[in-house]
């Protein structure tokens, strides 16, 4: 088992290095960073000098080595656009994204699970069908269009909720800024969280429904029924409990993609999080920010995957045997 864990750790490290490599190679091809850093009428000689100074004229291998060595220390230098250390910029933006991701995850679970349970238990009722249909609309419209429509309805037409930004934020302790403690912050959170959570909500609803339907057909539920247990007890005591394990696992795995999807939501709502920072960086060829963001997302996924793999290995002896013999 130790050997297995060790090997998986090594593999994860390899993945991270590969991500760094791909990230680096990609950046070689997306635009010209120097052009972003200088004014429109900077002479060519000056541009060349900057190029030299940034090491963009060094051999590619040297640039890669330097990149990976720095990445290992999570040092990505100074953002080309903001002239600020990248680590600091990301740290400042992280609370916004994490709060948004968390709230939208809670929203998608809180709405998705009950809807899933209902649609499984009352498969043929009109309401269940309506839920199914409405949830499908959630995955049938592009996120940005949903966001714009929500803004149009709730901000411009009704004037109930703000159309952009985070509202009033409060600083907590060492730099964590939260919008959860003010009314304007909470109001600002509603539309982006719904926009971001809608897709996951649909996913969870469908997953719960499918799992529920499967569990309801298993022998032990039939047995419980035969024992004369109350339907309610069977549904919520046994069926739902067994359904939730895979749902939570998937939801956990989805956390990474929520953060990735946040790029679009943050763009529409001008939410000052990491996704917006990243998209802006892509548009301005701000390589240090792109690098740091990619590495961070890579790290996040690798860690989540590692945990899931290890848990599976612990839970499922058959898989453990397969992996052990490989």
């Amino acid at each position: 088992m130790t050997a297995f864990i060790l090997r998986r750790l090594l593999q994860s490290l390899g993945v991270l290095i590969a991500v760094a490599l791909i990230a680096f190679l990609m950046f070689r091809f997306v635009g010209d960073p120097v052009n972003q850093m200088v004014g429109i009428d900077t002479p060519q000689a000056e541009v060349e000098r900057l190029r030299q100074e940034l090491g963009l004229n060094d051999p590619v291998l040297v640039q890669i080595a330097r990149f990976i060595a720095n990445a290992a220390r999570f040092e990505f230098g100074i953002s080309y656009q903001f002239r600020l250390p990248v680590t600091q910029l990301l740290a400042e933006r992280a609370p916004a994204t994490l709060e948004l991701a968390l709230v939208s995850a809670i929203f998608s679970l809180a709405v998705g699970i009950p809807m899933g349970v209902y649609t499984a238990l009352r498969r043929d009722s009109a309401l269940a069908k309506a839920f199914q249909a409405v949830s499908l609309v959630g995955v049938s419209l592009p996120t940005f269009l949903i966001g714009i429509l929500l803004i149009y309805l709730f901000s411009v037409t009704l004037g109930w909720l703000p159309s952009f930004g985070r509202g009033q934020v409060v600083k907590l302790g060492n730099g964590w800024s939260t919008g959860l403690l003010t009314t304007s912050g909470l109001k600002a959170l509603i539309l982006p969280a719904i926009t971001l959570g809608l897709f996951q909500m649909t996913l969870i609803m469908r997953l719960v429904r499918a799992e529920m339907l499967e569990v309801l057909r298993t022998d032990y539920i039939k047995f419980a029924r035969a024992r004369g247990l109350k339907t309610r007890a069977i549904h919520f005591g046994h069926a739902l409990k067994n359904t939730l394990v895979p749902v939570i696992t998937i939801a956990g795995l989805q956390l990474g993609s929520i953060i990735a999807f946040a790029i679009i939501t943050e763009t529409v709502f001008q939410w000052p999080g990491m996704g917006l920072l990243f998209l802006k960086a892509v548009q301005s060829v701000d390589i240090p920010i792109m690098a740091a963001y990619l590495m961070m997302i890579g790290f996040l996924f690798v860690v989540i995957n590692l945990i899931v793999d290890l848990l599976y290995a612990l839970v499922d002896p058959r898989l453990r045997a397969t992996i052990g013999s490989a």
Binding site: T42, A45, L54, I78, L84, S163, Q270, K280, V285
Partner: protein, 536 residues
């Protein structure tokens, strides 16, 4: 918006407008200006980025020696008077404003000016190109400085309007003695802190999110400039639809970079008004005339664009009125040259363009030997100028009508600009702001033969020694009459050769809640201190 037919606005709007009106309960005493535009300043460091958004914020916190008002006229800021020394045309002398204090209380003196100009000349600074002619800056006394130029430079003062003066003492104490060097891993003290002499002091700065400044009660000009603003909250909103929504829903007071298609809507919205006017920035198409054979054309062995008749044909096939009316929704002024009416050298009589005439254009093409047209690729930005990609698309359709089959390639400016500078395009769209308000700035970058220090943006392959000599002579000609005669000469040559196809001067529009009146700034950098006179 004379040509907009309001009956076309759907009923949906009426409902929205009512709702918006009901929502906004704006008090007339509000003194906070909530200001939004498409992009943020990249840094507060006044010498680190020579771009509009940086100067917009800079002008509220820092001050240059001389400043341009909303109309583009020069006004003294930290300098009260300036002149070229009568006995030495290579020296400019500036008298400085007395009793000026920086935000931290330090006194403003000639030392700060010398420090700031030298800082702006450092390798890591981005304002150097405006100071290429400066050889040295010296202090004469506490309130007098002299700029020594490499040969006479009659226009130096025009180059100083965005060169902000920093506090020497503060900068040295706060790791800001030099502009941010990207190789350094630490933050420069001036990147998000500021200590200027300007009308507002910095309260907080979150890059790309929000910047707050408050009125500087110790400002020297408070008596003169009665802008009445106590606080400015500046927030960048890149997404156009979100930006407009924020104004409509009453979350902001003043919006720069209003999308042209939303102007009509905003003008009819209750409680909102729009100010629009021309920017000092022509938009035009560049032809690559230097190549022996175009890279993107089906014509092999020769370059159709090298034939002036082909260029004239394209010029004639472009329906500038339609672009102005439809693509720009009235928010532009067609031009016949790569210039604007704000610059020295502009001549109304020469500002003409061929009448839109498909038949004439086809004939010109046929005369040049291309009766069936040819194919070519047009490169454009999609994130730089007002409706840039829309203009290019319109041109594609118009040229399609004379048989020139254009493939459109739209890119972000980060990809487009290097392509022009490397001369990689056959046919491209570009815009040119003219900060010095002088023709030379246009000639030197767009028409002069490409060298490391001139012709940087000349992607046409144009290289004409005679023209170059004339352009260079403008650098040091002190006799204004002679200089202007040369400028006229050059424009005449340009008129005959059609190396570029000028389209229009774009308008910039600002929309605001109706209790504000913020005029259009010809450089698109509104300076809020000048609002005093015009605030309703």
């Amino acid at each position: 918006m004379k040509q907009m037919d309001k009956t076309r606005l759907p009923a949906l709007f009426a409902a929205t407008l009512l709702a918006t009106t009901a929502l906004v309960t704006w008090s007339a005493e509000a003194k906070t200006l909530r200001w939004a535009r498409s992009q943020d300043a990249t840094t507060l460091d006044p010498h680190s980025g020579n771009t509009g958004p940086n100067h917009v914020l800079g002008h509220n916190i820092y001050e240059p020696l001389v400043i341009r008002g909303f109309d583009g006229k020069l006004v003294g800021a930290l300098a009260t008077s300036w002149r070229v020394l009568p006995d030495n045309p290579s020296v400019w002398e500036f008298k400085l404003r007395p009793n000026v204090k920086f935000h931290n209380g330090n006194a403003f003196t000639a030392d700060d000016v010398v420090f700031s100009i030298k800082r702006a000349l450092m390798p890591a600074a981005d304002m150097k190109s405006l100071l290429v002619s400066v050889e040295d800056v010296t202090k004469v006394d506490d309130l007098t400085v002299q700029f020594k130029t490499k040969g006479p430079n009659p226009l130096l003062v025009n180059n100083l309007t965005n060169l902000f003066i920093m506090d020497k003492e503060w900068s040295e104490a706060n790791n800001a003695a030099t502009p941010q060097n990207l190789k350094e891993k630490t933050e420069n003290g001036a990147t998000r802190n500021a200590n200027g002499t300007g009308p507002f002091t910095l309260v907080s700065r979150e890059p790309d999110v929000r910047t707050v400044v408050k009125k500087n009660d110790a400002y020297w000009g408070n008596a003169e400039y009665n802008h009445g603003i106590t606080e400015i909250v500046y927030r960048p909103i890149p997404e156009a639809a979100t930006r407009v929504a924020a104004l409509l829903s009453g979350e902001i007071d003043y919006l720069q970079d209003v999308p042209v298609q939303d102007i009509a809507r905003l003008q009819t919205a209750q409680g909102i008004k729009v100010e629009a006017g021309p920017e000092n920035r022509p938009i035009f198409l560049g032809f690559n005339i230097g190549l022996p054979e175009l890279r993107s054309s089906d014509v092999k062995g020769k370059n159709p664009l090298a034939d002036v008749r082909v260029r004239q044909a394209i010029n004639t096939a472009i329906n500038r009125d339609a672009i102005q009316r439809v693509t720009m929704r009235g928010q532009s002024e067609p031009v016949g040259m790569v210039w604007s009416r704000f610059i020295n050298g502009y001549d109304k009589a020469m500002d003409t363009w061929p009448k839109y005439d498909v038949a004439a254009a086809k004939k010109l093409l046929a005369d040049a030997g291309y009766p069936n047209g040819f194919s070519i690729t047009l490169h454009t930005t999609n994130d730089r100028y007002v409706n840039d990609e829309g203009i290019a698309q319109s041109v594609v359709a118009m040229l399609g009508q004379i048989g020139v089959k254009v493939t459109l390639v739209a890119h972000s400016l980060r990809v487009h600009f290097p392509g022009i500078q490397r001369g990689e395009y056959d046919f491209y769209l570009l815009g040119w702001g003219i900060p010095t308000f002088d023709s030379h700035y246009i000639f030197n970058d767009l028409y002069r033969t490409k060298t490391p220090s001139a012709g940087t943006w000349n992607g046409t392959g144009l290289s004409n020694a005679e023209l170059d000599a004339k352009i260079d002579s403008l650098n040091s000609e002190v006799d204004t009459a002679k200089r202007n005669a040369t400028i006229v000469d050059i424009w005449k040559w340009i008129k005959e050769n059609d190396v570029y196809a000028p389209i229009h001067v774009q308008f910039i529009a600002g929309a605001m809640r109706s209790e504000w009146t913020i005029p259009t700034d010809v450089e698109n950098t509104p300076k809020m201190k000048f609002l005093g006179a015009s605030r309703s």
